[in-house]
Amino acid sequence: MQVSPKSGSRSGLQSDSEPVTNLEQTLDAIVAEHAGQIGALMPILHAVQEKWGFVPETAIPILASRLNLSRAEVHGVVHFYHDFRSEPAGKHVIQVCRAEACQAMGSVALEEHIKNTLGIDYGQTTTDGQFTLQAVYCLGNCACTPTLSINDHIYARVTPKRFELLLQSLLKPVS
């Protein structure tokens, strides 16, 4: 399969997340759910990302005003953590472990294979909006490596061939 990279994509929402509508009302509801908690911003950002698949830039000033923080503080938190995305992800998020226990079983070659197959680098989404590729440092499956995860399901002892099969099963139309 060959797909060309498209960075800075604004389309291709994750299938299980909704388009961004009713921004203020939704954020107010999420903020209310976490009212009074210590360090509420982190769980709030997780909830925002779960809702829309990313943290919209436009959410930052609203969250800042509701939490009595500066915009810079909220922006800083969103961008400090690898997990929070500023743009929508593809339908499937593929995380490949780059850490030592996976390296010891050939993950460097697997990474190259995956990047070549999808035609994208880490942090990018394929043009058809199907796949987002992310680097990850340890998924806790270090005795049966290389490891990758697709949409939070973890796969062990992944070879390039196994990756091809996984990809095919994801591209199969749902009957």
Partner: protein, 510 residues
């Protein structure tokens, strides 16, 4: 006839197809008109045998593994609940030498049953430690933890009892218990296994810490890369609340402990305790200056017990069985048991819990059985991405904190990552610097800039660009990082780099 089968719901077991096995076992049983009950237990940690399927019948619980989806009809054909004739038959799981020879205290219950059953947990001695703690004075609990000799299992090996004493002695209108479940080191999975297989042990340990120090609120800071542990912990906390092992009045004792689960967001640095505290407070995970120690000024500036998952879990054994029982295990100043995680290129990888003092070679050979690829073992990284790479002549080192420190290595959280003879140690040194550059919090210069320059200098050495001068420069850079970094991230990154240079120098001269 009716069958009872155990198929683990552990992350690694599932990554190897355990969920598919559940579907196939049900289908096969239905086809044969047999009644089947499947219990999703945790893993026993013998990951090289996962998916490890156990069946009740013929005088006990017998194991088969590793079971693939193609093996299911064959197991039924071989009447696996009654007979041991199938080629994957391992006999009773408890009798598998790899498991039987371990000295399991913290992981004694792992894999035996449904992780979320409080009844099962109690039937195997669970909550006995908390039961006892609820009837003790706080000082007596802290004394027991001190006497046990328990040291922090997260990597820093600070005496747990001393930390608790500081929190107990520091006045505060609110105190907190924080569990560091941000197990980010590559090659480690012990915290994950415990949280997935025996989550109540962690809850019990945290409640004991609360009773001992007067804290009423606690947080588990769990990394986002562990979705299954998240799900299990969330359910375990609700069940523990419903059965009054957490909440306003634990088991009618008048003691309160409220526990919340918080999820990280993919930052390795948040495993550093002060960075974790900033993250819990909803900020960027920046490392704080110490002192003040978190025990004095921790979460929200309040006295805070901050312990690793395994330290808190070990406390339940100390309270249930006594400090003397626990300190009987171990060697020198390293008391109790060590949880080694055999990872990377290893034939029999998984979790090995043993008293401190066994040699690295015993672990690699007797338990690990050599490399997975069958090639010669060349380098072993002990203690995660900030740990040294050890060459063969150092493998007789006993696994305790002091012995490793003597050879400029560290035990860390007990992860052991094995590499065969195809490894390029110059690339491993480069990765250590690259990882530090990616994951540095950015607060101090030696770590933030030093790691970036480290990658560049190593690239020049590899490219044979003024090699001697650049090796000298790298050495000075490492010294600056060790001496000048604010925390262990920048301070220890030179360990894998320097050990690679020292013990595998030919890889830098190609």
């Amino acid at each position: 006839m009716s069958l009872r089968v155990y198929i683990p719901q552990d992350t690694t077991a599932r990554a190897l197809g355990a969920d598919e096995l559940v579907t196939l076992f049900h289908a096969e049983a239905r086809r044969r008109g047999m009644e089947l009950e499947i219990i999703r237990n945790g893993s026993r940690g013998a990951f090289w045998l996962e998916p490890l399927v156990e069946v009740e019948g013929n005088g006990g619980r017998r194991a088969f593994g590793p079971v693939t989806i193609d093996d299911v009809p064959g197991l039924f054909n071989a009447n696996f609940s009654q007979q041991n004739s199938h080629p994957l038959a391992l006999g009773p799981a408890d009798e598998i030498p790899w498991l039987k020879q371990q000295q399991r205290l913290t992981f004694e219950r792992a894999g035996l049953g449904d992780p979320l059953s409080i009844e099962h947990y109690r039937s195997l001695g669970g909550f006995a430690g908390l039961d006892r703690a609820l009837r003790m004075q706080p000082q007596a609990i802290v004394d027991a933890v001190k006497e046990s000799g328990l040291r922090g299992r997260g990597g820093a090996a600070f005496p747990t009892g001393i930390k608790w004493q500081t929190v107990l002695d520091t006045p505060g209108d609110q105190k907190y218990i924080v569990c560091n479940a941000d197990e980010g080191d590559s090659g480690t999975f012990a915290d994950r296994l415990l949280m997935e297989a025996d989550p109540y042990q962690l809850i019990e340990g945290m409640a004991i810490a609360a009773v001992a120090t007067g804290a009423t609120e606690g947080f588990i800071y769990l990394r986002s890369e562990y979705p299954l542990a998240r799900k299990i912990l969330r359910q375990a906390i609700s069940k523990a609340e419903a059965e009054n092992w957490l909440g306003r009045n634990i088991q009618g004792s008048g003691k309160e402990f409220q526990l919340q689960l918080r999820i990280g967001a993919g930052a390795y640095i948040c495993g550093e305790e002060t960075s974790l505290l900033d993250s819990l407070e909803g900020k960027r995970g920046l490392v704080r200056f110490k002192p003040p120690m978190p025990a004095i000024k921790g979460l929200m500036g309040k006295p805070t017990v901050m312990n690793n998952v395994l330290s808190l879990a070990a406390v339940t054994t100390v309270l249930a069985k006594g400090a003397d029982f626990y300190r009987e295990f171990g060697s020198g100043r390293s008391r109790g048991t060590l949880t080694v995680q055999l990872a990377g290129n290893i034939k029999r990888g998984g979790l090995v819990e043993l008293a401190f003092g066994h040699t690295l070679r015993e672990l690699l050979e007797d338990y690990g059985g050599g490399t997975a690829t069958g090639r010669a073992m060349r380098a072993v990284q002990v203690g995660g991405p900030l740990g040294a790479y050890l060459p063969e002549w150092q493998w007789d080192v006993p696994l305790d904190y002091e012995a490793l420190a003597e050879i400029k290595a560290m035990l860390g959280h007990g992860g052991i990552v094995v590499f065969d003879d195809t490894v390029d140690m110059a690339q491993q040194a480069r990765f250590a610097m690259e990882f530090c550059a990616i994951e540095s919090c950015g607060k101090c210069t030696p770590c933030r800039i030093g790691s970036v320059r480290g990658v560049e200098v190593i690239d020049r050495i590899i490219a044979n660009d003024d090699r001697a001068a650049n090796r000298h420069l790298l050495d000075e850079l490492c010294e600056t990082m060790v001496d000048g970094s604010l925390c262990a991230m920048g301070g220890l990154t030179p360990y894998p780099v320097r050990s690679a240079l020292q013990h595998f120098s030919t890889d830098f001269e190609r």
